[in-house]
């Protein structure tokens, strides 16, 4: 999957260029994120402002990304649209992921957790 990346004060902000993270897009999404992590990018914000739909395949890709980063860095999610946010709530993954209303707050959280 094509990702738009932007580095802000040491935190890489990644924005998927597709509006659906479903069973078709999830493997490509996961692959693109793993490529970034393997290239040494461990402090990540995922900007979900353009994502309108995510299913359990997309959630699985997210959990896998979180595990791949592990203790090496920090991951935060930002700017989720309501339907996507609801999927995280219903699956209780809002307790697992660090979720913020906007990219700036998410990046500040990543910086804090990564330096702590």
């Amino acid at each position: 999957m094509e990702l738009e990346t932007n580095v802000v004060d040491g935190v890489t902000v990644v924005k998927p260029r597709e509006s659906r993270i479903d069973a078709v897009a999830a493997p490509r999404f996961k692959g693109a994120l793993v490529d970034l992590i393997n290239a040494g990018v461990y402090d990540l914000v995922l900007d979900f402002s353009g994502v309108e739909f995510i299913d359990s395949s997309g959630l699985a890709a997210m959990i896998s990304t979180l595990k791949t980063i592990g203790e090496r860095g920090a991951l935060a999610l930002a700017a989720m649209q309501t339907p996507v946010n609801n999927v995280f709530k219903v699956t209780r993954l809002n307790r697992v992921f660090d979720i913020h209303p906007d990219v700036e707050q998410a990046a500040a959280s990543v910086r804090r957790r990564s330096s702590g």
């Binding site: 659906r20 479903d22 069973a23 078709v24 739909f53 299913d55 359990s56 395949s57 959630l59 699985a60 959990i63 896998s64 979180l66 595990k67 309501t82 339907p83 609801n86 999927v87 219903v90 699956t91 209780r92 993954l93 307790r95 697992v96």
Partner: protein
């Protein structure tokens, strides 16, 4: 205004690339019901999960098979029947009473999502067919008086 009623069936080949078509159709149909936009998003998600389940688990991701979805509006609810002729669910109880997966487990959330967002879920094996029935009433789960 009284909600409209009717039934329609659609079938896709067992490819995950086709599933968005079912989602788009369901979204369009639900737009003619009293469901709010966030509820329509819930319904679309459940349909996508159910059809993915047929393709990935019942057919083992093999193309060339059919998944059919019957959609009915009865004025009080939207009802779905998802049908495939793939392998039987090993444990049918998983279909109607799925456990919430471990928070850090990557998979196994599809059925839990369906059960959480639909008012009624039932699985049956009819002859050679898996039939998953799901109902979403025009009121939110757990919010009825």
């Amino acid at each position: 205004m009284k909600p409209r009623t009717g039934e329609v069936s659609l079938c896709i080949e067992s490819l995950v690339e086709n599933v968005f078509l079912v989602g788009a159709a369901v979204r369009g149909i639900c737009a003619h019901t009293p469901l709010a936009p966030d509820e329509i998003a819930d319904v679309e998600l459940c349909l996508v999960e159910a059809v993915n389940n047929s393709i990935i688990h019942a057919y083992g991701s093999k193309p060339g098979n059919k998944v059919c979805v019957d959609i009915g509006l009865d004025g009080e609810a939207v009802k779905f029947r998802i049908r495939d002729t793939g392998k039987t669910m090993q444990d049918a109880r998983n279909m109607t009473n799925p456990a919430c997966p471990d928070e850090k487990s990557p998979g196994g959330r599809g059925l839990f999502i369906i059960k959480s967002l639909m008012h009624q879920v039932e699985y049956k094996r009819n002859n050679d067919e898996n039939v998953l029935t799901m109902t979403r009433r025009f009121s939110r789960p757990g919010r009825e008086p």
